[in-house]
């Protein structure tokens, strides 16, 4: 079974670096879920911290990390975000300040990592598939609660999956 992994790698500020990190992940069957590039931030070694999330079987993830550690400085690694859920939003997702919606869901323990929006004609409700990851099931439940609340306020329909936790 695939699990979600997150690592923070320190990259030199020159072209092609990011591609070199992603290559071993893809080659070993990892599926990249999100990349968070903090360009404005420099580490003490004058490098840029990049947070990469990917899903992979844990055996393969070990191999990926092993390979990456040969060439890069990995600052943090782990199943930092273990809980993940995809939720469908239907309504005026954009006109009700999408970035505000996301901001309200994000916390130190949970964040939106993926967003797909389908917009039909103007004035018609749009559809967004949003993926949230969190450090724990509890943190995910809290984030979900914030999302439900925000969407109720904004008149957006939230369609959650039926998951295992009943």
């Amino acid at each position: 079974m695939s699990e979600l992994f997150t690592l923070i790698v320190e990259l030199e500020d020159k072209p092609g670096q990011l591609l070199r990190v992603l290559e071993p992940i893809a080659r070993n069957g990892g599926n990249i879920v999100g990349i968070f590039h903090q360009r404005g931030k420099k580490t003490p070694l004058n490098r840029i911290p990049v947070e990469i999330s990917f899903t992979a079987e844990s055996k393969k993830a070990e191999k990926i990390i092993e390979e990456l550690q040969r060439d890069f400085l990995i600052r943090q690694f782990g199943k930092l975000r273990t809980a993940v859920v995809s939720i469908l939003l239907v309504g005026h997702v954009i006109h009700t300040d999408l970035s505000d919606t996301i901001k309200r869901v994000d916390s130190s323990d949970a964040e939106c990592v993926e967003l797909n929006i389908t917009m039909p004609e103007r004035e018609e409700p749009s559809t967004a598939m949003i993926t949230i990851t969190a450090k724990s099931e509890e943190a995910l439940e809290m984030a979900l609660r914030r999302l439900r609340e925000t969407c109720r306020e904004k008149g957006i329909l939230v369609i959650e999956p039926i998951n295992d936790g009943i």
Binding site: P125, T127, L157, I159, E160, P161, I162, I166
Partner: protein, 322 residues
């Protein structure tokens, strides 16, 4: 066994027709029975009458011949079992005939979802009078979920139940999934076909499923009331929502969910390979147990003879278990 039937609309007549058609089979299983009185809003019949004649009279004239009210029949007649199949009213008036019967020590078999108004009270009333209240037909039509929970799984802890409890909603969502047509178009077609009612509000806004969820929750020991259920209906779902869901391997269904953590009716993403991705007007439920994993049950959620079949099943159960 002396039976009184209160409510003689579609379901009441369906029950009476099955009692006539299956008399030999029923009497072989539960012994002799007699319907001693029938009453509804149009009138009543009691004493020595033939059940088939009462059905015929009601069908031809649109009423019952006698003038005594359902309340008088419920209070004054002598019966062992009341089959209460009046329409759901969701207030105290919806359960008054049942209370009358239970107070007399007569058991009640009902399809009337009004029991959600005071489920615990009715159960206590039945118990203190040595009677029983049977309600298989209130949830999921003929799908045998109440018996499954109360009897077969009586020694399991029920961790939660998820169900599709409204056939109209499931029909609309199935067609949206398959034909990618807008909600409003499918709803008006469903009305023409008689699958949706002229005023479909209670169905499409999730209220009907919510009432049934109250009954289910109480059945598994969660003393919920209607106000406790968080309800979202299907009116805002778009064909695009289905398209996006399906890219991720999901469809959308109106799911009623009861557990210690959650009491809600809402549209949910259901994996396409889940048995809950059931199609058409069917009802279905997934029960999670502590010792036996998940149990799935499905069946027709409505219909004259389907509901009547659930009523007869309760009649048999009542006889069998005393």
């Amino acid at each position: 066994m002396k039976i009184a039937i209160i409510g003689f609309g579609t379901v009441g007549q369906g029950v009476a027709e099955l009692l006539v058609a299956k008399r030999a089979e029923i009497e072989r299983k539960i012994g002799d029975f007699k319907v001693v009185a029938i009453a509804d809003l149009t009138g009543s019949i009691w004493g020595d009458f033939k059940l088939e004649n009462a059905i015929e009279f009601r069908r031809k004239t649109g009423r019952l011949p006698g003038g005594r009210s359902a309340r008088e029949i419920a209070e004054e007649e002598d019966y062992d079992v009341m089959i209460e199949v009046t329409t759901t009213k969701l207030d105290e008036s919806g359960i008054e005939y049942m209370r009358t019967a239970l107070k007399k020590g007569a058991s009640v078999i009902t399809s009337n979802k009004s029991i959600a108004v005071d489920f615990q009270g009715l159960m206590k009333l039945a118990e203190s009078n040595g009677a029983r209240l049977m309600y298989e037909a209130t949830v999921g039509g003929v799908m045998p979920i109440i018996r499954l929970l109360n009897s077969y799984l009586a020694l399991c802890e029920i961790l939660g139940v998820r169900g599709i409890l409204n056939g109209t909603c499931n029909y609309i969502l199935t067609r949206m999934e398959e034909e990618k047509l807008p909600y409003s178009q499918i709803l008006s077609e469903a009305k023409e076909m008689g699958i949706a009612e002229a005023n479909p509000k209670a169905d499409v806004e999730g209220i009907d499923a919510g009432i049934k969820l109250v009954i289910l929750a109480n059945t598994i020991g969660i003393p919920a009331r209607f106000e406790d259920i968080e309800i979202v209906g299907i009116t805002d779902i778009t064909p695009q929502a289905f398209a996006v869901a399906m890219q991720k391997g999901y469809t959308i269904r109106l799911i009623a969910e009861a557990s210690r953590k959650s009491l809600r009716v809402s549209p949910r993403l259901v994996p396409l390979n889940s048995p809950l991705a059931i199609k058409g007007t069917m009802n279905a439920a997934m029960i999670r147990t502590d010792t036996a994993g998940d149990i799935f049950v499905a069946g027709r959620g409505a219909g004259k003879y389907e509901t009547a079949t659930a009523i007869l099943s309760d009649l048999y159960e009542l006889f069998r278990t005393g």
